[in-house]
Amino acid sequence: MTASPAHPLPALRAAFPLTLPVMAGYLFLGIAYGVLMQHIGLGAGWTLLMSALIYAGSMQYLAVSLLAASFDPLSALLLTLAVNARHLFYGLSMLHTFAGLGRFRPYLIFALSDETFSILCAHTPPEGIDRGWFSFFVALLNQLYWILGSLCGAWAGHLLPFNTTGLDFALTAMFFVSFLNQCGKRDQRPSAAVGVGCSLLCLLLFGADRFIIPAMLLILAVFALEGRIRKGGAAS
């Protein structure tokens, strides 16, 4: 007979297959991350701490360069806010979805990575499966893959039978593939173009070390202006 709706095991069984692509991706990117941490002399303990506490792949890659430079917490703070500002929009999209999930809610919000967000957006649990446990397992499994991958990189990265120079390009590749996926949706092309255009302009104007905040502001300004023009056009 069917288990009670709040039983965790059926929820785990429903969640696991959905997380398989994330498993492959996080193990690969996590190993690359652990190897990069090794390159700057930080071992498994630091890697585990970061994957458990920060759990934001792209930010952790960028954090490697922050930790390899001299101590500058203000830059770390600003870069983190800029790079992770997209989380604000994931959160806004999940306000209703996470409402009423009680004790699971804090962890679900903490662990709302890009990939977890996209799974939870695209899938609702099958009939009879508890939504709280289902969402919890999707989020937890994904974070465990990330931790496991990064630990493998930290412990066994030096055993990899090839030269790992250039492995950090995996991050660029990951963003570029997301970018291509966004450009595949016709309605997303203009905003993707605004993002690239504003960033290139600010890169030329402000240089590689300080363009990210101006670029964020310029993007927001363009969208605000576009909204006003659209409103004006609708009114006339």
């Binding site: 983190t80 660029t172 590749a173 970018f179 670029a215």
Partner: protein
């Protein structure tokens, strides 16, 4: 090797962790479920993800100099490989792994 002491490393990591958590929790603190979300924020919700991904691509390539060194050829070749692989198979992991392999090969041979 990192120039930071253990205390500095720990502080850096805690700052990054706290700022990351802030970006995740803030919307839930500001907009309790059921409260209306302002129209501009609703539009941003739709527009911003693509724009930020564009920004991050540029960020990753910020140190490429088309007029010096290897002229950014490894990057250009790798991104082209990703574009073609992704057109062909639409498989995210294949595209990432293929592009990274092309880049590693070129950067290790061209330098």
């Amino acid at each position: 090797m990192t120039p930071q002491s253990n205390t500095e490393l720990l502080l850096s990591i805690l700052v990054i962790a706290a700022a990351t958590a802030l970006t995740r929790f803030l919307p839930f603190w500001i907009f309790r479920a059921g409260r209306p979300v302002p129209p501009f924020i609703q539009r941003l919700q739709h527009l911003l993800p693509s724009a930020v991904i564009g920004l991050l691509v540029v960020y990753c390539l910020r140190n490429v100099h088309p007029l010096a060194g290897n002229h950014g050829l490894p990057e250009l070749a790798a991104l082209t490989a990703i574009l073609l692989l992704h057109r062909w198979r639409q498989n995210t992991l294949l595209s990432i792994a293929g592009g990274t392999a092309v880049y590693m090969l070129l950067i290790q041979t061209l330098g």
